[in-house]
Symmetry: C2
Subunit: 350 residues, 2 copies
DNA sequence: ATAATTAATGTAACGCGTTACATCTTTTAT
DNA sequence: ATAAAAGATGTAACGCGTTACATTAATTAT
């Protein structure tokens, strides 16, 4: 085993100093005579020497790498969060391993193990297993068996009460539904539908529950026939809307599980000769890029992307460095309404 | 320094065998008595032991990690390629470090160094420095100084002839423009414009050059006034189209630098009372998700995403394992036309 | 000038999996 | 039964940066 790259010993030899001294100038630690430091630094530069993070991590038990597991980066929501995570991680000198599970649970397990072998300092989970309404026990066991005590932070999901070195940062979708309902009812809507999503997934169940709970606070009616679940895609929006259109009585406003679905709904309305927002106000969720390209542009509830990423990374880093996480380990961030063009006062009977 | 996790020595002690034997069952290498193997394996399982990849990598000089540097994952094109890269990488048991430069060259340099310290087995570059028409010499020097001899593969870009352990995989955008022109002229268009993009960036310059070269092969005219560069965004499409609309004479077909720009163009046309494709046929590029949500849907030239990712990773792996790369180290893959709704025969004088 | 501090620097072990090489068994051949 | 070959397992060095501890040099105090 011989390495092409130069090692700290090569530098030490060249400088006639010990590796300890080189290490000291490398880390700006310990006392090193200015003269020595300059000499060593010059040799380091001349040889384009960079310390081997593997060796460093092996000894320090810190790899400065964190793992991020998501369903798919091609989904704009995840892409935005990943970007924010990375921007925040860089502040802590962490580099991210990105793992796409393709919503395949076995693959999520596989990656979890893989990241454990890579000795990541922390794990960030979003979607998939972490966004199921009833926490998956086997997955938690996997974490306990192979990841513990490495800290885990969940974004928009949960696992807490099961894995005890875990925190979470979420968008408050429950409260967001109240905002949505407040907005829509104040616009004059009384008949409100809900399209897209899938039961068993937190982001759907939370909204559905809020929809029911809010009925007593706001002046609207929600009928089961106005709830058409499908999935989270554009096509899901099309399908759900087509389904809704079969009903004899129709709502005047529609809340969509996300913007992709909202886009599908809007385009379906238009294709069928309806106007948005005149015939149907369509409210989106997420504030993803698609929301500004439909016509009309989508009024939507935005995730606090930047905070979601930065707070999650903060949490993770505090845990990595054993700093107490104040009182709360699970925080909910407010979503905010971005008014664009897809909602207005209802044209028809309110 | 004491570790919480169990190490190979713990397993060895528990089994009353040497670490070599444990290592052998771990890697299925060397001769191990079936009985011993079973014993060791059972202890490994019981202790939830997983080998430390850092230690392994330190000795083997292979980290099974590759670095991917891109401008931003939030850009759908990059997200798709990254996803394909990862799907391909998993076949080679590689995990990917994702680095977003935010199109900041200093950050790209920073990440390049960082990945070098992480001892990645290979580097995958897309966009940014690797997509500038004139290769950035300083960046190549950085690669030579700190990355070499680690192999590098560029996707949709180049650096070749400079860094000698480098291959590239690209979409043939030049040929794609010929396809585009062939398609548009055969539809009857003779006046063709080009919107979006930015000079100095390969994906723009290649198309622009092709546009000029192709004039002798196809029956169309291209005027300088019909070329409005801006950038690669939706807003860029809006701006460019608004600019174009100021001209007295207008083209009947427009080629956009990408689908985001095409979407901006389409929506601008519609807002201004024009019809797409009747008044203007608008052709996109990339086949990104936005192309199916505009109305009309965008006819576009698609990148061979899956191959782009898998071939790039193949190349990288061959280089990592010192397998010769056949003859070619730079390959061009055919893009293909996806017909949707944004192009038709011209309504006006052809 | 000498002792007492403080500053610089060196030595060697450590973290953990791998593997070349050596040693000890077991099996096969004669 | 004995030598030769094959199989199983162990020992220890290695990859490389870090750091506790020891040692030596330079200052400061007395």
């Amino acid at each position: 085993m011989k390495r092409g790259k130069v090692s700290i010993r090569d530098i030490a030899r060249e400088c006639n100093v010990s590796v300890a001294t080189v290490s000291r100038v490398l880390n700006n630690s310990g006392a090193v005579k200015e003269e020595t430091r300059k000499l060593v630094q010059s040799v380091i530069d001349r040889y384009n020497y960079r310390p081997n993070e593997l060796a460093r991590g092996l000894y320090t038990q810190r790899t400065k790498s964190i793992g991020v597991i998501i369903p798919e980066v091609t989904n704009h929501f995840f892409a935005k969060v990943v970007l924010e995570i990375e921007k925040a991680a860089i502040e802590y000198e962490q580099t991210v391993f990105l793992c796409n599970t393709l919503s395949d649970n076995a693959l999520q397990d596989f990656y979890t193990l893989r990241l454990s072998e890579k000795q990541v300092d922390g794990l960030l989970l979003l979607g998939g297993r972490a966004n199921e309404t009833k926490t998956n026990v086997q997955y938690v066991k996997l974490l306990k068996d192979y990841i513990y005590p490495t800290p885990v932070v969940i974004i928009n999901g949960k696992l807490d009460n099961y894995y005890d070195n875990c925190a979470s940062v979420s968008s408050d979708e429950h409260e967001a539904m109240f905002q949505a309902l407040d907005y829509l009812t104040s616009l004059g809507h009384r008949k409100i539908g809900f399209l897209g999503g899938k039961r068993g997934i937190m982001s759907t169940d939370i909204k559905l529950n809020a929809l029911k709970e809010a009925e007593s606070s706001f002046n609207y009616v929600m009928k089961e026939e106005w709830i058409k679940l499908s999935n989270y895609t554009y096509q899901g929006g099309v399908d759900a809307m087509l389904e809704l259109l079969k009903e004899k009585e129709l709502p005047t406003a529609i809340i969509s599980i996300n913007d992709e679905v909202a886009a599908g709904i809007i385009n379906t309305c238009i294709s069928k000769g309806y106007s948005v927002p005149d015939d149907f106000s369509v409210l989106g969720f997420d504030n993803s890029s698609i929301s500004t390209v439909t016509m009309p542009k989508i009024t939507t509830l935005s995730h606090p992307y930047e905070e979601l990423g930065s707070i999650a990374v903060d949490f993770l880093n505090n845990m990595i460095n054993d700093k107490p996480l104040k009182d709360v380990t699970n925080i909910n961030l407010k979503m905010n309404l971005v008014e664009r063009e897809s909602c207005s006062r209802p044209r028809r009977d309110t």
